[in-house]
């Protein structure tokens, strides 16, 4: 079955601390993995995708096929990083997205 798991509902860190948001997936083929972010009172937007391998707002994410994970990291958290982060998977011909349950990141001053 296709599934995305984000084990932490809430992650609270202090400003300047490293952040790791975890994501594990279950998929029989070769999926495409994404991180979407929703800031307070804003719409959901794409943050990262594994095929681009780029860093956005200091966040990077690596696809580990052996561990079926797509964790994202940032070395120094900022208060403006506080948001809801969703890991998502896309596979097959339909390009539909399967979302994890989300992790609320709270960066304390």
């Amino acid at each position: 079955a296709q599934r995305v798991t984000q084990p932490e509902k809430l992650l609270s860190v202090f400003k300047g601390a490293p952040v790791e948001l975890k994501c594990n997936y279950s998929y029989s083929g070769s999926p495409e993995l994404f991180w979407y972010v929703q800031y307070s009172r804003q719409r959901l937007q794409l943050l990262l995708r594994h095929i681009s391998r780029e860093s956005i707002k200091g966040f990077t994410a690596d696809l580990n096929k052996g561990e079926t994970s797509f964790h994202q990291k940032k070395p120094f958290a900022q208060e403006e990083d506080s948001a809801m982060y969703y890991c998502a998977l896309s596979g097959g011909a339909t390009n539909k997205l399967i979302f994890g349950t989300g992790t609320l990141l709270a960066v304390q001053p």
């Binding site: 495409e32 719409r43 959901l44 937007q45 794409l46 995708r49 969703y86 896309s90 339909t94 390009n95 539909k96 997205l97 399967i98 979302f99 994890g100 349950t101 989300g102």
Partner: protein, 115 residues
């Protein structure tokens, strides 16, 4: 990118009634999707709406309950029929532009409360 608007932004409805949500995009897109986000939960895909064909529904969602229209490449509607309090959710429209890179853009959502 694509700019997406949804109407209404929110509504409070009585059980047994129906509500139609509109999704408008500022450019032509091939694929449009409708998601539901129930309180405290993640997004769940309801259906994929492609222009010129019937919508494809995910397991647990049926056309009688969630009829969808896709009359052209910039517009779609989702109707929530015969509503019950369990239908209280945020309903989101998303689109995938013709860029071929699988990126989806999301609308602001419609917050529905059923009394």
């Amino acid at each position: 990118s694509a700019v997406i608007s949804q109407k209404p932004s929110r509504d409070i409805c009585q059980r047994g009634t129906s509500l139609t949500i509109q999704c408008q995009v500022d450019s032509q897109v091939t694929m449009m999707f409708w998601y539901r986000q129930q309180p405290g939960q993640s997004l769940t895909l309801i259906a994929t709406a492609n222009q010129g064909s019937e919508a494809t529904y995910e397991s647990g969602f049926v056309i009688d309950k969630f009829p969808i229209s896709r009359p052209n490449l910039t517009f779609s509607t989702l109707t929530v029929s015969n509503m019950s309090p369990e239908d209280s959710s945020i309903y989101l429209c998303s689109v995938e532009p013709w860029t071929g890179d699988n990126e989806q853009f999301f609308g602001p959502g419609t917050r529905l409360t059923v009394l």
